[in-house]
């Protein structure tokens, strides 16, 4: 007994160290996964209010830029409206055809917390369940892929940024239609890596990379970026570096797209798996 007590006395700091380190590591492994909902939900609730007030101050400095962007978007939408009116006469349109049914529901939100310097980056948005956001919605910035929502509370959402080494996206080259898998290698926030494109395909620097829509999260044909470097790795595939269109360093206002037919597509797909 005395020896045991002596042992504890002698190694008490090692024991405390092991206990504290154990707590920290269990937090790390249990809480930091893809759907790190519990910890993040609890904690984001406390810090989000603070972060919001800081981000509001920052947004004043970008008002002019935002205004120009909005004006440009308005013009584009007006043009689109003009075209649709002439294309199909919507007033006399009565047949309910699923081809013309709305597939994506769009929302907008403001980014109140963001990082680009970690290996697993997340965005915090100022909208949540109360504003009809839900997990698995696409986050779109500068008309390009930015991330996907992984968790919502009533007033906030957390989205996994494209700049996260766990993020995977099905993407294709617009000019020839070959698709591959796009992910971030954790190095530069301006580039992502497109892999699984076979080497017999002709790939040119400057080609556009866009989404395929296979995952039922991102709308089809949404731009990701432009090819800026092609490398033949040892295997039969290219390793293509893509300059991202969205500038994650100044992300402020983002659009969100929820696929209304996602469950339909997925239910059908699971029947054949």
């Amino acid at each position: 007994m005395r020896n045991l007590l002596n042992f504890f006395k002698r190694y008490n700091n090692v024991i405390i160290f092991l206990i504290l380190e154990g707590i920290a590591l269990s937090l790390l492994t249990s809480g930091n996964s893809y759907h790190n909902t519990r910890f993040i939900k609890g904690v984001r609730g406390i810090t989000a209010g603070l972060e919001r007030s800081f981000s509001r101050t920052g947004s004043y400095f970008r008002l002019r830029e935002t205004e120009v962007g909005l004006a440009r978007e308005n013009v584009m939408l007006r043009n689109l409206l003009e075209q649709t009116g002439k294309m199909k006469d919507s007033i006399f349109y009565t047949v309910s055809d699923s081809v013309y049914r709305q597939k994506y529901l769009w929302f907008s939100a403001e980014v109140i917390n963001n990082s680009v310097n970690r290996q697993k980056n997340f965005l915090t948005l100022d909208r949540g369940y109360n504003d009809n956001l839900a997990p698995d919605m696409a986050v779109i910035a500068d008309d390009a892929v930015a991330g996907v929502i992984v968790g919502c509370s009533s007033n906030y959402s957390v989205a996994m940024s494209l700049l996260n080494i766990d993020f995977r996206l099905s993407a294709r080259i617009r000019s020839n239609g070959y698709f591959g898998s796009l992910g971030w290698d954790g190095k530069s926030y301006r580039n992502a890596i497109l892999s699984d494109i076979p080497q017999h395909v002709e790939v040119i620097i400057g080609d556009t990379v866009e989404t395929t829509g296979y995952s039922a999260i991102f709308p089809e044909g949404l731009m990701v970026g432009v090819i800026n470097e092609i490398e033949k790795s040892g295997s039969d595939f290219y390793r293509i570096s893509v300059a991202l269109k969205a500038d994650f360093k100044k992300l402020r206002f983002v659009n969100l797209a929820g696929n209304l037919q996602k469950t339909e597509q997925q239910n059908l797909e699971t029947q054949f798996q």
Binding site: N12, N13, I16, F17, L20, E21, I23, A24, L25, S26, L27, L28, T29, G31, N32, N36, F39, I40, V43, R44, I46, T47, F54, N113, S115, V116, N117, R118, Q119, K120, F122, T124, V158, I165, D185, G186, K187, S188, Y189
Partner: protein, 168 residues
């Protein structure tokens, strides 16, 4: 004693605020991200008991974790750094013994000693932090490069901060 607690609370709050609102926003090319909050663990007095040192390390890491949404990452790296501190101090002691009433500072022990001390502690902390962050051993050398570059910048900032502190 009370005076001391107040002083360390002030240092704690200042370092946390600096880290969250200044240094977390500094990124050079995705490889470098300085973490200066570790300075709090370095500055604690020599005569602090080992359990208190560990608990304060835990607390420091935990607060940073909460505000950056990375549960456990900074906490585990800080606890390891706090655990290693007594060994590091013993290893690099220049004189017979440290004066027990004092704290590790540049003024008393000189530039060279402080630089080595900072370098070793920051390296240990960053090493565990960056490998825990990626949580895999692929791209081992890329991560190692990030550790080295970030260590360099953190050390520069910590030494600068120490000069500012001395001027006060």
């Amino acid at each position: 004693m009370i005076n001391r607690i107040l002083r360390y609370t002030l240092i704690f709050v200042l370092l946390i605020l600096l880290q969250l609102f200044l240094f977390n926003n500094i990124q050079f090319s995705g490889y470098v991200n300085p973490y200066v909050y570790i300075m709090f663990i370095m500055l604690l007095p020599f005569d602090i008991s080992s359990w208190l040192l560990l608990f304060l390390s835990f607390l420091t890491g935990f607060v940073i974790d909460i505000f950056s949404g990375t549960p456990g990452m900074h906490t585990s790296a800080s606890v390891i750094a706090g655990f290693a501190r007594p060994w590091v101090l013993r290893m690099i002691s220049t004189r017979e013994d440290y004066e027990f009433v004092s704290e590790p500072s540049l003024r008393i022990y000189g530039f060279k000693w402080f630089l080595i001390y900072t370098l070793v502690i920051v390296f240990i902390h960053h090493f565990f932090l960056f490998y825990l962050e990626v949580f895999r051993l692929t791209d081992f050398f890329t991560t190692f490069l990030r550790v080295l570059l970030s260590t360099l910048f953190s050390v520069i900032f910590i030494v600068l901060l120490e000069y500012i502190r001395r001027g006060k």
